[in-house]
């Protein structure tokens, strides 16, 4: 039954409901794929029993003639940023090694309520800080893709949701959860040729998701196609009284509403997204995307988002500032690792615990955040960045008067090799140039595969929409998907 792993979320859901195969057969097939995928280092913990138990429940419900929930029988990967009851949750850090939450995050609970099962906890950049999955305490995730030059240089799966990207692209899971603070769903989705959507800020509850930058963090699905993303996003979303910024709105029926016609819609092309040194192939793909949108019936309009170039520096103040505050909780007292040198007092214990428990990139960001929030610098950095954030949001507001969605590349390059950018933090940060502005404005945005570059690696296109208009984003992405006919997949080497 190995071909069951070729199926996506919709096909599994419909096949289980229709009796073509049992949920248990699906779970067993994916559990086997997980067990065989160790060279990718995509999982921190494997949970085959969780997947089987969820599947058996679905099979029993079906046998009893009950109505099946919307993701019945679909086993998924869970980014290790979501707290899972009794299953180690680390955010890929040493400081949380061994931490087994006594509670379940709202997003993961929503998925279990929808009939999904868990294959395991997925590796990521430590505390979701990174764009290449090279900052994990548990080692790099290796992309299932390789360049077509005959070399075997291990490639970055993108980050921070690198494990999620690798397993969905490698047919090791039909879908996986991601989280996106500045592009952590969209950039890895683009790097491995899959789809991923970050919904409007507040759609998915943040409760039980380990916090990085609370005003930006949003969960979302990563899956093989647009329809699968719609199904999974519906299951993940919804009002949660336990999250103060959760949107108290009904969850739209995104899957039912899917419509790939762009007739009567206007697609904006932001001129400021044409950056220096952008590879020709990215520009060519963007032009191809514009042609696809036109073919789908859309009118193309050029728009201006004048503060785009300030989005990244604003982000690298706001996100580290919030992180330095959020990560203050890791003090070696209530949970996680403690480092207590001989004769140490309480302050020494804090400092030693955090020195030993955090990786380099996490420390770097905590230090930047502490610096920009410190006395005498707060206004010049943090307040100024928050004002620039207002200007960036206003840029988008003005654009929505002229268009319904925006179309841009997802990332300024295809996947790079592991180690290629890790020596220069700034070069790594620049990878998020196209994804950060919509994060700062809280807008829904999605990456969908568009084609391959000369080296045979996937490239993604990004659709950005108005707040709460996930439907418009999904529809435009579907129009691209239908025209791109992207069927490339990594050849199995692991």
């Amino acid at each position: 039954m190995s071909d069951l792993t070729d199926l996506g979320i919709r096909q599994i859901r419909d096949g289980v409901a229709g009796g073509d195969f049992s949920a248990r057969e699906v779970a067993e097939a994916f559990n086997a794929a997980v067990a065989a995928a160790k060279p990718l280092n995509a999982f921190i913990v494997e949970t085959p029993d969780h997947a089987l138990a969820a599947a058996d429940k679905v099979d029993q419900a079906r046998a009893a003639g009950e109505t099946l929930p919307p993701m019945a029988g679909v086993p998924i990967g869970m980014k290790d940023l979501f707290c899972t009851h009794g299953v180690q949750t680390t955010a890929a850090s040493h400081i949380l090694e061994g931490f087994k939450p006594e509670y379940e995050s709202t997003v993961s609970q929503n998925l279990w309520n929808a009939g999904a099962g868990m294959l395991g906890k997925l590796n990521l950049d430590q505390f979701a800080m990174g764009s290449s999955n090279e900052t994990s305490y548990f080692g790099n995730v290796i992309s299932p893709w390789r360049r077509n030059d005959g070399g075997n240089a291990p490639l970055a799966p993108g980050g921070s949701s690198g494990g999620s990207a690798a397993v969905v692209a490698g047919r090791i899971a039909p879908g996986a959860t991601g989280t996106d603070t500045g592009g952590s769903i969209r950039q890895p989705a683009a790097f491995v040729g899959i789809s991923g959507i970050k919904p409007t800020y507040g759609r998915c509850s943040r409760w039980g998701t380990i916090a990085f930058a609370s005003s930006l963090d949003q969960a979302g699905p990563m899956a093989r196609d647009v329809r699968d993303c719609a199904i999974m996003l519906e299951a993940m979303s919804g009002f949660d009284p336990k999250d103060a910024t959760s949107l108290d709105l009904p969850v739209p029926k995104w899957e039912e509403g899917l419509n790939a016609s762009m007739a009567g819609k206007r697609v904006g092309i932001p001129r400021e997204y044409r950056v220096d040194n952008m590879p020709e192939e990215i520009e060519a793909l963007w032009q191809q995307g514009i042609a696809w949108m036109r073919d789908a019936g859309a009118e193309i309009v050029e728009v201006s988002l004048p503060h785009t170039r300030y989005a990244l520096p604003a982000y690298y103040i706001i996100a580290p500032a919030e992180a330095s505050s959020n990560l203050a909780r890791y003090d070696g007292v209530r949970f996680g690792q403690r480092d207590l040198p001989e004769g140490a007092n309480l302050q020494d214990m804090y400092a030693a615990t955090r020195e030993a428990g955090f990786g380099d990139e996490v420390k770097r960001r905590i230090l930047i955040g502490t610096y920009v929030l410190s006395a005498g610098f707060y206004d010049a950095y943090f307040t100024q960045a928050s004002k620039v954030r207002t200007l960036i949001a206003q840029d988008f507001e003005r654009a929505w008067k002229r268009c319904d969605v925006l179309l841009t590349p997802t990332a300024p390059s295809a996947a790079f090799a592991l180690g290629e950018k890790s020596a220069d933090p700034l070069a790594m940060y620049l990878n998020d140039v196209f994804t950060v502005p919509s994060s700062l404005a809280g807008l829904p945005a999605m990456s969908v595969p568009g084609g391959l570059d000369k080296a045979g690696l996937p490239l993604g296109l990004q659709v950005i929409g108005r707040a709460l208009d996930e439907q418009g984003v999904l529809d435009a992405a579907l129009a691209i998907e239908e025209r791109a006919g992207f069927v490339a997949r990594p050849e199995r080497w692991w």
Partner: protein, 95 residues
């Protein structure tokens, strides 16, 4: 923007992260680079702009003032690196 090692050590102290001298020396130019890059924000005229406080306009809710949980001491302490007699324990703070 240049950041010296004394500044790195001061910030690390504020952040409660122990730092060795050679690490502070390595981090000083790195942080200087990043902070120099973000300083371009100063170019933007924001004199008539309010800082963003909520990305999606959303009224903060009040909940009923009632107890919704409790009696879960064992769960609260379950992940503590060191817990004794139903408390979190830390090195002695008061002589």
């Amino acid at each position: 923007m240049s950041v010296d090692t004394a500044t790195v050590k001061r910030v690390a102290k504020l952040a409660r992260i122990a730092i060795r001298d050679e690490e502070a020396s390595r981090l000083a130019p790195e942080l200087g680079n990043i902070l120099g890059w973000i300083e371009q924000l100063g170019e933007v005229d924001t004199s008539s702009v309010q800082p963003m406080t909520a990305v999606i306009p959303n009224r903060l809710r009040l909940r009923d003032d009632v107890v919704t949980d409790g009696n879960i001491r064992a769960q609260v302490l379950a992940n503590a690196p060191q817990a004794e007699h139903g408390f979190f324990t830390v090195p002695k703070v008061i002589e």
